[in-house]
């Protein structure tokens, strides 16, 4: 993907007006991570009831790609069961914004929020489940996302 075509209307709009931006005061889980090279920094808060993500918000700083992808990811996640959240893949986020062929240096901007989401999930499951082997798999998956 080259030229200014990754900066289409949707990306620019989301970067100016991110969706689900903010904090959840009485969240059930929160997680923070950043990209050391570029400084993109994202926190995700989630409210979880009956194994379902009933609310999700994010805050932080990032480039247009990062903000747009995080907006889309929170949209995808909201209302899903934890099992379905586990199944969210890179492609689900990238395809939503037409970023399937993003160059390697920018992929980190696009997928930081998915890494944070998966890390939040294992943090939540780790403190609520006894099957630690399963939680460890999730942790590894988050760490090796990109």
């Amino acid at each position: 993907m080259s030229g200014t075509d990754i900066y289409h209307e949707m990306i620019v709009d989301y970067s100016r007006n991110p969706i689900n931006y903010g904090e959840i005061e009485n969240h059930d889980v929160t997680f923070h991570d950043s990209n050391p090279l570029c400084g993109d920094s994202i926190d995700i808060d989630m409210k979880i009831d009956d194994n379902k993500v009933t609310d999700i918000k994010f805050h932080g700083k990032g480039c247009a790609i990062c903000m747009a992808c995080t907006s889309v990811l929170t949209e995808i996640t909201k209302g899903k069961s934890l099992d379905d959240v586990r199944k969210i893949e890179k492609h689900d986020v990238l395809s939503e914004l037409g970023l399937e062929h993003l160059q390697a240096v920018r992929i980190k901007c696009a997928l930081l929020s998915l890494k944070v989401l998966k890390s939040a999930l294992y943090t939540y499951l780790g403190s609520n489940l006894k099957d630690t082997a399963d939680v460890d798999t999730l942790k590894t998956e988050a760490e090796n996302l990109y």
Partner: protein
């Protein structure tokens, strides 16, 4: 060589990489010189000539090749010493770069000299390489790290320095001669005079200054000085640490191994003479020789001409960038107080998006925190865009940057 724009335009022919195109056949406009510079044929040829014709390890063997390589290596040491006016070649230690130089000081000088309660003073506009080694040292020794603050014009508040010196606990003041983000040229003479009066040692990070202006270590009067080759036309992986001999004699070795020893017995070792006591193992011979060739190249141009060229270019760039609505330049606009490094933000567009969009126009612009997160915090920004110039940059490069920023404005509807 004359300091005219023509002669600077001509020297572009010495840099093969400047002839290539990038992305969709766009002319390469390289504006990330504060990070690393391109290399002229003279440097590339010196390295290949060494490997093709002279390659052998230095200092030990008696055969012809070893004699040639030793001569070339030590000859480069003399060239570099002369370039920054180091009077005693025993004080010039080859290291991998500025980062290794500062770590060497923190380890080999810091460990035997820093104790609980001592203070090391640095500044708010340092590169991480002049912050993190001191954090490691002060944490290990239960000493303190303090910062000289900066005003909104990018100048240091030297009242802070006076305050710390008055405690009588300061052992070292360490600062960069030119900020890698703001381009601010530090008033080193003033800081060193204050420190000398208080009997405190000074370390200067010269990584950004030495490539761009005349630096005279004998006149400066600091105690430690570090700089890197790759930011001044030389290869990566080679740099210089200079330490005043009286201080060097109080330091422990950094790395133990070959070449740094005089005699090794089962349980004790005596050290080689200076500077070899601090150069363990086979050094970066080809890189040192390449560094020597870079020094020859810059000497031929003249560092006053280099500074003059960059001042003209920086003034032009600041004037043109200032015309763009919504673009904020950080640091002073007085070019006599700054080098050719310009950090800016463009409205609400993240620097990564700026860099990505203009990359498609062939422009290599840096975006991010530039290894200066303490400064980013002080400026209250997550990141900046940064353009930095060198001898081969021209007004046409600045024009290309300005034109490409218009594309950013269109995409983000500014």
């Amino acid at each position: 060589m004359q300091s005219t724009e023509d002669s600077f335009e001509n020297l572009r022919n010495d840099f093969p990489i400047l002839k290539r195109t990038v992305r969709d056949n766009k002319r390469l406009v390289y504006l990330d010189n504060a990070s690393t510079t391109q290399k002229p044929n003279q440097v590339i040829d010196a390295i290949t000539d060494y490997y093709r014709n002279h390659n052998a390890n230095i200092h030990r063997a008696v055969y012809a090749l070893a004699e040639e390589s030793t001569e070339a290596y030590e000859g480069a040491r003399d060239k570099i010493a002369k370039f920054v006016n180091i009077k005693n070649r025993q004080e010039l230690i080859f290291v991998r770069g500025t980062t290794e130089a500062i770590n060497l000081v923190a380890y080999a000088w810091g460990r035997p000299h820093i104790n609980e309660g001592d203070i090391i003073v640095t500044t708010e506009y340092e590169h991480h390489s002049n912050i993190v080694p001191w954090q490691l040292l002060t944490q290990e020794k239960r000493a303190k790290l303090e910062y000289i603050g900066m005003n909104d014009d990018g100048q240091l508040n030297l009242d802070d320095l006076d305050k710390y010196l008055a405690t009588g606990k300061v052992k070292l003041v360490t600062f960069s001669l030119m900020s890698n983000v703001l381009g601010t040229i530090t008033d080193a003479a003033k800081i060193i005079a204050k420190c000398k009066a208080a009997g405190v040692l000074t370390l200067i990070d010269g990584a950004q200054a030495v490539p761009h202006m005349k630096v005279d270590l004998d006149t400066l009067g600091c105690d430690f000085f570090a700089f890197s080759g790759h930011k001044m036309l030389a290869p990566t992986g080679i740099g210089v640490l200079w330490v005043r001999k009286s201080v060097l004699q109080t330091m422990n070795p950094f790395h133990g191994g070959g070449d740094m020893i005089r005699e090794v017995h089962k349980y004790e070792t005596t050290w080689n003479d200076l500077p070899y006591k601090f150069e363990a193992g086979t050094p970066s011979i080809a890189e040192v020789i390449g560094f020597g060739a870079a020094i020859d190249y810059l000497t031929k141009i003249g560092m006053d001409n280099v500074r003059q060229h960059e001042m003209e270019l920086t003034q032009y760039a600041i004037d043109e960038l200032s015309k763009i609505p919504g673009l904020e330049i950080y640091g002073t606009k007085d070019i006599t107080k700054r080098g050719g490094v310009i950090s800016f933000n463009f409205a609400d567009v993240h620097p990564h998006d700026v860099a990505d969009i203009i990359d498609k126009e062939g422009i290599s612009l840096r975006s991010g925190h530039h290894c200066a997160q303490v400064l980013m915090e002080r400026l209250n920004v997550a990141a900046t865009s940064r353009a930095s110039f060198y001898i081969y940059n021209t007004k046409a490069d600045v024009d290309a940057l300005i034109n490409s920023l218009n594309i950013v404005a269109k995409v983000f509807k500014l």
